[in-house]
């Protein structure tokens, strides 16, 4: 039975702690959500590979007691694709930022969605580039300030859920660091889903996004996340009223890439 406040140390790499993230950074809460999910999934950790990109979110694998592959900016999914195809028995989870996912790695993201390869992508979306000091991201909302948009962004932001849906991902969900109970549930769901699964997590960056946009500290930013979003079941006839919907947006079983590839090999081996 799921517990609250459970001892998750067996999933953590204690010697790497405390982690690199700033005080109040939501990435630690996403990491806790992931650790909680691993506790529920009861996977053998030596058969789990966490593949990180570059940036704050990319560091996540270092703090886990599983295999860690810290790759290059935006390319975590491309590395993960080669690995998963070679070792379909491994559970592969990527931890990627919004810049990783929707800017430099946008191409890899949409193609991983299209291929439907059995990888879970956890997208840490804080709407800004944290590691490099608060620059605009493709997810920075129009009007929001960053150090490269000091007068407010004039670009529309990518909606990662819509992007994943349009590109064909077969499991797509969104949660926030406010939703500590739903987040691990969605990650468990996503990992069990036999295909490409995207879990976008809205996470607070109090150091840059919060400060530059006068949203207060981490405590205030969690309230901001709550007010910015709406669970799908709570959507009334008034609609979203500018809020972002949460929950599962798609869960479809479709032919999975590594399974199809194995079939293709078996067919060709038989024929030759």
């Amino acid at each position: 039975m799921p517990r609250v406040g459970e001892d998750l140390r067996q999933y953590l790499q204690a010697e790497a702690m405390p982690h690199v993230w700033c005080p109040g950074c939501g990435h630690g809460q996403v990491a806790r959500g992931l650790a909680t999910a691993l506790d529920r999934l009861a996977l053998p950790l030596e058969q789990l590979v966490l593949v990180g990109g570059i940036g704050c979110s990319g560091r996540t694998p270092f703090y886990f007691n599983a295999n860690a592959m810290h790759t290059t900016h935006g390319r975590a999914l491309a590395f993960a694709t080669g690995l998963k195809l070679t070792r379909p028995g491994l559970t592969v989870i990527t931890t990627m930022g919004d810049g990783d996912t929707a800017a430099i790695g946008g191409n890899h993201f949409i193609h991983a969605c299209r291929r439907n390869i059995d990888i879970t992508a956890i997208v840490f979306n804080n709407g800004i580039y944290g590691m490099t000091g608060g620059q605009q991201a493709p997810t920075t909302p129009r009007g929001a300030r960053s150090v490269t948009t000091p007068l407010g962004s004039i670009e529309p932001a990518f909606d990662i859920v819509q992007l994943a849906l349009a590109a064909g991902a077969t499991y797509v969900a969104r949660s926030t660091t406010f939703d500590f109970d739903e987040l691990p549930t969605l990650i468990v769901d996503a990992v069990r889903h036999p295909g490409f699964a995207v879990v976008e997590v809205l996470t607070q960056c109090p150091t840059y996004y919060g400060r530059l946009n006068e949203l207060g500290d981490a405590v205030a930013m969690l309230d901001y996340e709550r007010d910015l979003t709406l669970p799908q079941h709570a959507i009334t006839k008034e609609g979203l009223a500018g809020r972002r919907p949460l929950g599962v947006f798609r869960r479809e079983v479709a032919p999975e890439y590594t399974a199809q590839y194995a079939e293709l090999c078996a067919r060709q081996a038989k024929a030759s």
Binding site: E15, A16, L45, E46, Q47, L48, V49, V51, P61, F62, N65, A66, N67, A68, M69, H70, T71, T72, R75, A78, F79, A80, T81, G82, L83, K84, L85, T86, R87, G89, L90, N107, H108, H111, Y261, L264, C265, Q268, A269, S272
Partner: protein, 370 residues
Amino acid sequence: MKLIQGNEACALGAMQAGCRFFAGYPITPATEIMEWMARLLPPEHGVFIQMEDEIAALAAVIGASWGGAKAMTATSGPGFSLMQEHVGYAAMTETPCVIVDSQRGGPSTGLPTLPAQGDVMQARWGSHGDRAAIVLTASTVRDVYEVTVAAFNLSETYRLPVVLLLDATLSHMRENVELPALPVVNRCPPSGADFQPFAGPGFQAFGDGPPIVVTGLAHAASGRPRASDGPNLDRMLRRSIARIEEADDVRRYRGTALEDAEHLILAYGITARSAAGAVELLRREGVRAGLLELQTLWPFPERLVRDLAEQVEDVVVAELNLGQLVLPVRAAVGGAAPVRHLGRADGTLFSPEEIAAAVHTAGDREVARA
């Protein structure tokens, strides 16, 4: 005997070497390697995947290598340029893999269907930072097969990305060849109770033992990041470079008529064929010319070139670029002999006559100077 194309020989060499993963992106003149791998891999339960770009192709290759597979990609200049960040990642993470670059005229889209040898320096220095690099090349279809096997063997032995430079002509050229089974080096398994994944040749793939950490950050032998420890990285790079420099199985070359040579022609890849023709022409005229064909461009065989230069009157370096491998040649030769460069970037091969003429000119100059 089999009449096959250079690119097919490359794919067959890869299969013979035990390659079981290929990721690529179509590009002239390398595409046939990919097309062959798409046919050859599935019956062997190997993986073939066409990725969304060359950046992803090399990333997938590295991911597959950490899954335990011998892995390869093949591309040409524009794709090779895109791959450079991951060449560095593979070097930093000591990942065995093979990258084939069938060279075409550059820069940029350049001369897509015409041969060149303009990626020699990029293959050595294209990725940022310092690293050990092994770069091979070949001049015949039979050599393409053999050197592809060597590329895999060296990448497994030294845990490095190995680059194989072909060119548009060699890739598309057909020759009648024998393709014998060649010795294959397999990945060194992890050993010892205190095994460290980055402390030597022992390699543990993901899932084959306790969890491991792989990162492009500077790291300890354990794999854990040491992102602010400069001296640790400096030590690691020096050790890795020294290993290649000191190795006796890395520098491949072929000498023709060198014993009594007074004029040395240094060439590699497709140009070595014209150079061999030049040696024949010159010898017929009574000119004692000899050819040093390098199959390993990097690490550069400094001592070999220096020793040969000391025995000859002059050196001609012929290559299909405007002056790349001639730079380390000049550095190695020093004052031992004058070095003349014969280069072009017009998508045309040298004829034996052109190279022979360059040898004559080099001699004339020497006479004039004396």
